[in-house]
């Protein structure tokens, strides 16, 4: 219960409102609200995601950590995000995750694939150190193939040097 409270507080801080009435829905599914697209929402009634959903993990817990140029070491900010990810995964044991490692476009395709793998592995190791079962975590590197931001300045490069934890229902291998 304390955990749920904490999550609600976090949501409130993020400006997201939990649809309390949705608790009876199967865990792990996104809230499929006909008014969610915004055009028909009742005045004064917000629409949110379930704490036990992949969408919640992505938006409220935070699925992404960033890295310095050429680095795969985790900053204290990154460790904070990963601690929250681990907490969520420990509370939602029916989810597994694929951790994506990404690099910016500075660097060759093949080196960046290896660098992305290093980053994904850093995230994986940290989550395991926080109690997440290794069998629930797989890694993949996209190198520079899937940038998040498309500009070619340091601002975009910073956003693209990332590890993304993609959770999905399933118990993993």
């Amino acid at each position: 219960m304390g955990m749920a409270m904490k999550q609600m507080m976090k949501l409130a801080a993020l400006g997201v409102v939990v649809a309390l009435g949705a608790c009876s829905k199967p865990q792990g599914a996104m809230v499929n609200d006909p008014y969610a697209s915004g055009q028909g929402a009742y005045d004064g009634v917000g629409v949110g995601t379930l704490p036990g959903s992949a969408e919640y993990f992505r938006t409220a817990v935070g699925d992404t950590v960033n890295f310095q140029l050429d680095q795969s070491t985790l900053s204290s900010e990154a460790r904070g995000i990963l601690a929250r990810q681990a907490q969520w995964m420990n509370a939602n044991p029916n989810f597994s995750a694929v951790i994506e490692g990404h690099a910016d476009e500075q660097g060759t395709r093949e080196y960046n694939l290896a660098l992305g793998a290093r980053r994904a592995s850093s995230v994986q190791e940290y989550l395991i150190s926080q109690g997440v079962g290794a069998g629930r975590l797989r890694t993949v590197s996209y190198g520079k193939e899937r940038p998040l931001a498309v500009c070619s300045t340091e601002e975009c490069f910073t956003r693209n040097r990332r590890g993304v934890t993609v959770v999905a229902p399933g118990v993993g291998s």
Binding site: D70, T108, R109, E110, Y111, L113, A117, S152
Partner: protein, 441 residues
């Protein structure tokens, strides 16, 4: 002045028969590619003769031979409007004075005939100022659908005789065609002639595919595919397009494959628990073994043409640099020492040089160096140049150039080893990861 044409025997299986092995004669006329030619050699192609049914192919063959030669940057064609005379027939004498008068140092004459679904291309080469032929006349035949190959073969002969280098026009390039926005790029593998013609698609763009690499005979292709959700090395038979996955170890990634020069081995990168090392696989049995064992990143391996050594990229020193080790693994010696980062080394098929990508001061270069790291030279510079691949004769390099920004795109370019003759490859679209295959038989 008449010279006897060597007669071709047509192989029933091959699309193209070649009249004689390439004999590069030592003539007085010679242009050296390594000199960094500033003034291209003026040459003329006398209007080819139609010896029956050539139709449009007559001009097409002649224009393609001219395009191959001028595309090297070594030769300048004297336009037909300046020509004074034309030999009365393919076997008629050449009026050398008329070609001297327009300063054509070399003269190409030729004829085209089409019969029974085949095109027959004949040519002769003359040293105008010496007043004599340069080598024997030759003829090439191909199915009419393959007329470009016959023209490339003729141009290859002219190039070889005038430069002393091995030919390369009749060759193909595997590449990745790119479409869609930068953050959701779609990629598919194709093969095209070296000049961008005759594109044939080998994969669709339903999953991410990277870095195709030809076998030495050009019949197989290695590439990296994300079809399983994870990078895996695939091997495709280029003719049947049958594909199989080579490395399926769970929880690992494999990428960056290349064949050994004898086609028996595949060297590649294997990632386990975040660490990437170089492995070797028996192409037949799939048996694998590690060639490096280091906590740093080791990738982009490439064999020397004699198969005895491997050049690769490693960040064991702190930044990515180039190293050479025995093909059996073991101790490696560093060969790159300049500022910045080095990657994607590729051993020249001639064995004399290594081409690479170098990133320094926020810019990318394609460069070459001797195999001991000496005589390093940058050939290009841009926001992002990457992934060199050698022409079969080791004198020209193809690579990709990517432009910056939201609408940034990769395009293929080629550059000769002097760095003087850089030009875009005539492929109408975004493309990356070129791999130049062998000279076709």
């Amino acid at each position: 002045m008449l010279r006897k044409l060597l007669v071709t025997s047509v192989l029933s299986l091959a699309a193209l028969g070649v009249a004689a092995p390439a004999i590069a004669q030592d003539g007085p006329l010679r242009i050296e590619i390594t000199d960094g030619v500033i003034e291209p050699m003026p040459f003329a192609i006398a209007a080819f003769h139609d010896e029956g049914g050539a139709g449009e192919l007559l001009g097409q063959v002649q224009r393609l031979i001219a395009a191959d030669l001028t595309g090297t940057g070594l030769f300048r064609e004297i336009p037909a409007s300046a020509h004074i005379s034309r030999p009365a027939g393919f076997d008629a004498p050449v009026a050398y004075e008329d070609w001297k008068a327009v300063n054509a140092q070399a003269l190409v004459t030729g004829a085209v005939r089409v019969e029974g679904g085949k095109v027959i291309v004949k040519f002769r080469l003359f040293d105008v100022f010496a007043g004599q032929p340069l080598g024997d006349g030759m003829q090439f035949d191909a199915s009419t659908g393959n007329w470009r190959r016959a023209a490339h073969k003729a141009a290859d002969q002219v190039y070889s005789r005038l430069t002393g280098e091995s030919p390369y026009f009749d060759s193909r390039v595997a590449f990745v065609a790119e479409s869609g926005p930068k953050d959701a790029r779609r990629k598919r593998i194709g093969v095209m002639d070296y000049d961008g013609a005759n594109i044939r698609w080998l994969t669709d763009d339903s999953s991410l595919v990277l870095a195709p690499r030809f076998s030495p005979d050009g019949n197989r292709l290695l590439y990296t595919s994300f079809a399983s959700g994870f990078p895996r090395i695939m091997m495709m038979d280029v003719n049947s397009m049958q594909t199989r996955t080579l490395s399926e170890q769970q929880g690992t990634m494999s990428f960056s494959p290349r064949f050994s020069p004898d086609g028996r081995w595949i060297v590649y990168s294997l990632e386990q628990s975040g660490n990437t090392d170089i492995y070797q696989m028996d192409a037949q049995t799939g048996a694998q073994r590690a060639l490096t064992n280091s906590p740093s990143i080791e990738t982009s391996p490439s064999y020397s043409p004699d198969g005895s050594q491997i050049v690769f990229e490693s960040d064991r020193s702190g930044t990515p640099q180039l190293y050479v080790m025995s093909a059996g693994g073991g101790e490696a010696r560093r060969i790159s020492f300049g500022e910045g980062r080095y990657g994607t080394p590729v051993w020249s098929p001639r064995g004399d040089m290594i081409a690479f990508t170098r990133q320094v001061g926020g810019r990318f270069h394609i460069g070459v160096m001797r195999t001991d790291g000496s005589e390093e030279k940058m050939l290009t510079e841009s926001f992002l140049d990457e992934g060199p691949t050698w022409a079969p004769n080791g004198r020209v390099i193809m690579f990709m150039r990517t432009t910056p920004g939201d609408d940034g795109q990769s395009r293929l370019h080629s550059v000769d080893i002097t760095g003087r003759n850089m030009r875009p490859v005539d492929f109408n679209g975004a493309a990356s990861d070129p791999d130049w295959g062998p000279l076709l038989p």
